[in-house]
């Protein structure tokens, strides 16, 4: 008796958006399993998806947290590409071919440090423009996006970086932890956990949500809004930077214009996860479900031989629909609350 009560109370506490996403995932799963059972409904397919979606997932986390502040970090993909480029050049041109395991490890640590450094620098520039100078986030990050992409382009003279990379790196992109868990998924889950804790369980995270909800009220509470936004963009760029390592590890290459569709996908996944582009709302854990849903969609489309343009077209349509739905739901909720308040009269509410 007690167990079922506990379960039902837990169930009602689960975010409404999460429930919706669960059903969306279920629907997509069923539809494509029905349409392409031999190709879609296989362990290999799902395993391969688990190698692919963490990339989009990390980028969604980054864009998602900036959306909480009513902004958007459009430069996150280019930060990733920059890190991939720099690390790629480092490993291909400077790592001796016969290096010992120890040297390789050292170089890989250097790669991580470089990623952190680039992430911090990029985040600081973004943060400075958006938080300190108050520039419209989309404009500012559109500019820095070109800057970071440009640096990658200059470093590679417009070409990409290709080559053979050390096994340790390849393992990050294609290996399985304990032989079961795909490394990218493992890394994504760690990042998801960290960001979840930061946004929902630390003062900074709450301040981020409050800023998005009402920045004036936030100011009058003595919260340093500039610091809050600054930290958000740094966090986003750091996520982008680590995605860069993942991209290098998985594709064994780096190109300055890789993944341009990721921005829109990430925005879609964020909105589906319940993050409003106007800021102030959203649950981080839902990102796992929304990114996975989009990955299944992508995979299914792939098996149905649907062109990439149509795919991104679907994302566009889905994004419009989800924003529209969110608007309609919000308006309806407002009307309900007004009706409730009026029905109760001045009794309950005074």
């Amino acid at each position: 008796m007690q167990v079922s009560k506990k379960i039902s109370s837990l169930f009602s506490k689960i975010d409404g958006q999460a429930k919706q996403l669960f059903f969306i995932n279920l629907a997509i799963f069923l539809i494509f399993s029905f349409l392409r059972p031999t190709k879609f409904l296989t362990v290999t397919n799902f395993e391969s998806m688990c190698f692919q979606f963490p990339e989009a997932g990390l980028l969604t986390l980054g864009i998602g947290i900036t959306m909480l502040t009513a902004g958007a970090d459009l430069s996150i993909v280019s930060v990733a590409n920059l890190v991939a480029t720099v690390n790629g050049i480092l490993l291909l041109n400077y790592l001796p071919a016969d290096a010992s395991g120890f040297t390789i490890a050292l170089y890989l640590i250097l790669c991580v440090l470089i990623a952190v450094l680039i992430g911090l620098l990029a985040g600081c520039l973004n943060g400075f423009l958006v938080a300190k100078l108050g520039i419209f986030p989309i404009l500012a990050t559109l500019g820095t996006q070109n800057l970071y992409t440009g640096i990658s382009a200059v470093l590679t003279k417009g070409q990409g970086v290709f080559g053979t990379f050390p096994d340790a790196l390849i393992f990050i992109g294609s290996g399985k932890l304990f032989g079961v868990l795909p490394m990218p998924l493992f890394l994504f889950l760690i990042a998801l956990g960290i960001i979840y804790i930061i946004i929902h369980h630390t003062p900074h995270g709450l301040k981020t949500q409050w800023f998005g909800s009402n920045r004036k009220a936030s100011f009058y509470c003595g919260i340093d809004n500039v610091k809050t936004v600054f930290k958000t963009y740094i966090l986003s760029s750091l996520l982008g930077a680590f995605t860069g390592i993942l991209i290098l590890a998985r594709t064994n290459s780096a190109k300055y214009d890789y993944g341009t569709t990721y921005v829109m996908q990430a925005m879609l996944a964020s909105v589906l996860a319940g993050i409003s582009p106007l800021g102030g709302k959203g649950k981080i854990l839902n990102i796992l479900l929304s990114v996975f849903a989009i990955q299944m969609l992508d995979s299914g489309f792939n098996f149905m031989r649907i062109s990439s343009f149509v795919r991104s077209s679907t994302y566009g349509i889905l994004l419009i629909i989800s924003v529209m739905v969110e608007y309609i739901v919000m308006k309806r909720k407002q009307k309900l609350e007004i009706k409730k308040a009026e029905a109760a009269g001045s009794g309950q509410m005074s």
Partner: protein, 337 residues
């Protein structure tokens, strides 16, 4: 009396964003000219204007949207899709008629696309960036899937478009016997810029664009119909996109529905550089003209000063960052007065 008026006008201009851009433009052009005198050659100047044609047309529409507080990411897709659909229809019907009719059809299609944006922004209060980005990707996919994704080669392009592409005003022949000149469409661009300027300055709805961008509540209070103004802004931007797109495919003698990918930023950067403010409801045609000149001068002539083309993105990014920083500093300084 006259000089007083002129002096006042000049003083107002000197305080404006456009003035800053003009100074920067002059400095940059001087820099390029010093580094390579070939920069100032007639051929190069004609080339500069040629690259400004299509983006100049787009910029007029984009400017209005930015004045109203949002970034439009759809105009390029609308441009190429309207043009592509028009060309395909023309070929399907064996069209042999006048060029202007093709332009009109493309413009009409573009305008309808623009109304779609207006609908989403008006009815569902969707942020402009998201609305336009999603509509653009949605439409491109739909067109590619249902109309076709093969490009139309020059041999198949309608007669009138090919004829148009060869219409030059001012043709010259250079020392090596090859001819170059100023294409007629430059004047279309200038004409559209002039018309846009006249609309913005001399029509009630044009002033409404600024009023809405300055303070939407006050605009409603003095009697403006916000829905109508938005439909005008997005419809006009779509219309211009259609025109620009058709001119583009004509001049290139090819209609490739996959063109224009990721190039929105070029236009947006030019508009912002030219002083159009996303938060202040300010912007002018003169500004976007100067901004476009600046971005094109820099982009086209990197080779002239021995800078490889892969530096383009970098210089671009720096330009935008620079532009928005100046705008923000200027706005802060103005607010302190």
């Amino acid at each position: 009396m006259m000089t007083d008026y002129l002096k006042k006008k000049l003083m107002h201009f000197a305080k404006s964003n456009e003035f800053v851009v003009l100074i920067i433009l002059i400095l940059v052009m001087a820099l390029f000219a010093i580094l390579n005198p070939a920069f100032l050659s007639q051929r190069n100047m004609y080339d500069l204007f040629r690259t400004m044609i299509v983006t100049g047309i787009f910029a007029c529409g984009v400017m209005m949207i930015i004045i109203n507080g949002g970034i439009d990411m759809s105009f390029m897709v609308f441009a190429i899709c309207s043009a592509y659909i028009t060309i395909r229809i023309a070929i399907a019907f064996g069209f042999n008629g006048p060029f202007i009719l093709l332009v009109a059809i493309s413009a009409a299609i573009g305008m309808l696309f623009g109304f779609l944006n207006a609908f989403l922004v008006n009815k569902f209060e969707i942020p402009i960036f998201i609305a336009t980005l999603s509509v653009a990707t949605a439409i491109r996919g739909i067109i590619l899937n249902f109309v076709g994704n093969e490009y139309v080669a020059s041999s198949e392009m309608p007669e009138s478009t090919v004829a148009f592409s060869k219409t030059y005003l001012f043709s010259t022949v250079d020392a090596w016997g090859s001819s170059y000149g100023l294409h007629f469409s430059v004047f279309i661009m200038l004409g559209i810029m002039l018309i846009t300027h006249l609309i913005l300055k001399y029509t009630i709805i044009g002033r409404g664009v600024y009023a809405l961008g300055g303070d939407s509540t006050s605009a409603k209070r003095i009697g403006y119909n916000v829905t109508k103004i938005r439909m005008f802004i997005y419809g006009y931007a779509g219309l211009l996109a259609g025109i620009g797109g058709l001119i583009y495919v004509s001049n290139n003698r090819m209609a490739d529905p996959m063109a224009f990918q990721g190039e929105e930023l070029t236009v947006i950067a030019a508009v912002v550089l030219g002083g159009t403010s996303i938060s202040g409801g300010r912007g002018s045609v003169l500004g976007i003209f100067l901004g476009l000149m600046l971005t094109n001068v820099i982009n086209n002539n990197l080779a002239l000063i021995n800078v490889p083309s892969y530096w383009q993105k970098l210089t671009f990014g720096l330009l935008i960052i620079f532009a928005v920083m100046i705008q923000s500093i200027k706005a802060k300084r103005d607010a302190k007065i």
